[in-house]
Symmetry: C2
Subunit: 502 residues, 2 copies
């Protein structure tokens, strides 16, 4: 291999290893670390983040990238090498915009905000979190200025999670989603009592819940021999390599859905990382291309597969055998209907497919308002309640069930939330294309077997890692840029059938 | 604070954070990582080790140390500042002797040797491990030459674990131990059937084992709010800060001792780290001063406390309540006697207090022979069996129960094993001094309450971290340099009483 490129790779490997080490420290922080260990852990993570930044943003790195680019001149633009250089040029330019002092401050502010948020949430006391959130908002504003922008301050932050997407585009898509879903949601809410989901709210011992969740994750394609399932308060997936892509779940002994669908959701994320091509390993291309496409994989497994009728016709007997008393007299179809009951609720992560996007639209609007200085942090709880009433017609009784429910604002990661809703739209579009390209997928899915769908995803999405931008990937895979139409068709058909709407 | 010293501290913190990050990656590797993740993990750890070395062995570091030393001229030699500089000068000089390329090779060889050893051990196939061990021995030889030595090649390796101790000193102590223990062991073996320990070998479900082990660890002083108990194949303790000092245990459903005494053992290690003074935090002084002194704390908790009559008179009823069927009709005194049954066996970590040191002497002799080129790796299995027969009068039926039983030789950490036996001697000497200085400790111990002993250890050992060398520490705490006499007195009294010897 070309020696300038090889020299670049050696440096890329080193930087990548540090990034993964930070993720291991973060995983451990969430899964095993005693709360008392937080101060030292934040110091350790801050040191590694500074080192990472120092190596990546160095003059040397810029020279290595350009020397490799020159040496590779003439390589196919679609080669791994050319794609890596394209990605590095972009992310290097971004990284150079952040002073090391800012990176340190970012790590420290987030490190201190997290335990404050945990306590504020546990005690339903927004005042404990407020000063931290004020710092986080200030950091997000500073970061936007450091990166720079042409149109909106939110753009450069969004771009870190969904490269190439503009705030205005998201706003337009969300406006269409809102307009089109409202009548469906109203019709469904009017017929809410046609679905009974009370049997989901019983005592479900955790051990058999875990057993079934592991079984279900395996059934949808998660490879435990290259993974691990941990227990946490706030579930996430992470990967340290394609051969060590982990999931986490929280187990609710009173409610089956949280652990079950949470596991499937995180399995979807981890399968994306497990499926990246081996020849991308140890480079920044060896991961999902954007938060939105990542979320499309988790929502695909959680909802399009995990909340499908075929899946439960195939697997419900096994679940019933683990909970014979709780699920006595319940049929596979009862279960399918119950786990799809749609209704306005307070908590995003427990929301159904129909109301979920409204939770996102709320956050998308509020975080822009805070970023732009139109909403003071002190006024967030009230603004949250107002928006919930406006969008979903309900008002959370506490801030814990309101603006304190999510971990995201312990970091200045504004721009992350909208990618959840984009993930729903990407997922529906990918699924429609998959079935069009290979109709056997629909038949397999009706029999509860997602293997052919997962094969299609591996081929069209997973293996490419971050070689393509999300915009390029969705066109390659589906022939179309992102559209909200497939999602509208998907929920209209599914919930129309579930609620007997014409 | 003096600004040259402050500058040094900033660099020391950074280097310390990287070292702790490596330990987090190592902990995760042992506790959670799927086997498939090993390749990437070894790369990540190797990168961090190279970075650590690069920062620590830099010219800049040497200049910072000397500038701070000059600026501090006149500070009390017993101040934290002066002690830190003394320690840094020594370890910096050592680190400078290792080329970065050697550090990388060390990490890679050990990283590959570990899974090979796991497989060789599982399959009782020494040939699988042999080529790795050959590389490890070659690295140890290379390391000894890089560090340099005056008398023996083993000296510089031993010094990394027990600073200031010479191989010849250890050899003399071990010769005395061997001479003095042999007659006692012979007498005890002749009366082996006076103690019945069969009830320890039954089915003991793991969940109540864990419950009791957590209770017992708390009873001896391990602080779970600043710790964590993990499950592993090869138990160890580790600390990421004084507020996050962890223990690990393996649980054997057929035998009570492994999980129970293993937990107490690792608690002793972790309590040492939890007890280091807060003002040493984030520096290399914030840890146990040597492997031998560290082991004295684990053996103190495991044996002198955990295998004492007083401890079981106080706590046996609770254990019995957890295992009413298995321990029916067993008295606290029966239990005390059973967990102290002394007999030659194959496995070091399950050995009693009397035979344990013989397991160490065997390893001490064999690793010197390999290091000095007097024993070829290919001949190790036979040499092991021969020495076992010579020292303990038994021959292991397999290499898994022989030379493949320990993890240590997956790394070139020759010099580590002898510190286990030194730990036994240090422990007895510290315990004798503690009782002399505060006779109430003996009374408390007779009632199963180690709190006053632990207080003494915190004051005399734990809080000092690595401020003093092991040689300095043992004199400060006990008034004497290391001697094997207290250990001889301890085992003679204890086993004399247990076996009715005159």
């Amino acid at each position: 291999m070309n020696s300038a490129y090889q020299q670049l790779l050696e440096k890329v490997y080193e930087i990548h290893d540090i990034e993964k080490a930070i993720q291991v420290l973060s995983w451990d922080k969430e899964t095993n670390m005693p709360a008392a260990g937080n101060t030292a852990r934040v110091q350790q993570m801050t040191t590694l983040r500074r080192l990472h930044h120092r190596l990546f943003a160095s003059d040397e790195m810029g020279e290595l990238i350009e020397a490799a680019a020159t040496a590779l001149n003439g390589a196919s633009p679609d080669s791994n090498e050319a794609r890596l250089i394209r990605y590095l040029r972009r992310s290097y330019a971004d990284e150079r915009k952040l002073p090391e002092e800012f990176v340190r401050r970012l790590s420290q502010v987030s490190g201190a905000a997290h335990p404050a948020w945990v306590q504020a949430r546990a005690e339903n006391n927004f005042a404990l979190f407020r000063p931290h959130l004020e710092q986080v908002v200030a950091l997000a504003q500073e970061m936007a200025e450091l990166y720079g922008y042409e149109d909106e301050k939110y753009d450069p932050l969004l771009d870190k999670f969904e490269h190439g997407m503009k705030t205005a585009e998201v706003r337009a898509i969300f406006a269409a989603v809102k307009t089109e879903l409202k009548p469906l949601l109203t019709a469904v809410t009017a017929r809410a009592n046609t679905i009974d989901d009370r049997f989901l709210h019983q005592q479900f011992p955790v051990a058999p819940q875990q057993e079934f969740a592991r079984y279900a994750a395996t059934a949808v394609g998660y490879d435990f021999s290259r993974g691990h399932l941990g227990t946490v308060v706030h579930p996430f997936a992470t990967s340290f390599s394609r051969d060590d892509a982990r999931i986490t779940t929280r187990w609710n002994p009173d409610f089956l859905n949280a652990g079950l669908f949470g596991t499937l959701h995180e399995s979807g994320h981890a399968m994306y990382e497990q499926g990246t091509a081996p020849d991308l390993a140890r480079t920044p291309l060896a991961r999902g291309t954007s938060s939105g496409i990542h979320e499309s994989q988790s929502r695909m497994l959680e909802n399009i597969v995990g909340r499908s009728r075929g899946f439960w016709q195939a697997h419900f007997p096994r679940l019933q055998a683990l909970f014979p008393a709780q699920l006595s007299g319940v049929t596979a179809d009862d279960f399918y209907r119950a786990v799809n009951k749609a209704q306005p609720t307070f908590i995003r992560v427990e929301a159904d497919e129909l109301t979920y996007n409204f939770h996102i639209i709320l956050r998308f609007e509020l975080e822009q308002a805070m970023l732009n200085g139109e909403l003071a942090v002190a006024d967030l709880p009230g603004a949250w309640r107002g928006k919930m009433q406006e969008l979903l017609g309900v008002t959370p009784p506490t801030d814990t069930a309101g603006c304190l429910q999510d971990i995201h604002w312990t970091r200045p990661s504004f721009g992350y939330f909208p990618t959840y809703a984009l993930g729903n739209l990407y997922a529906a579009q990918l699924y429609e294309a998959a079935i069009q390209q290979n109709p056997a997928i629909a038949t397999d899915m009706a029999q509860g077997n997602p293997a052919s769908l997962v094969s299609w995803l591996r081929e069209k999405v997973h293996r490419h890692g971050r070689k393509y931008t999300p915009g390029e990937l969705i066109i390659q895979a589906t022939g179309q840029p992102l559209s909200h139409e497939p999602f509208r068709r998907y929920v209209t058909a599914k919930f129309g059938e579930l609620y007997g709407l014409s």
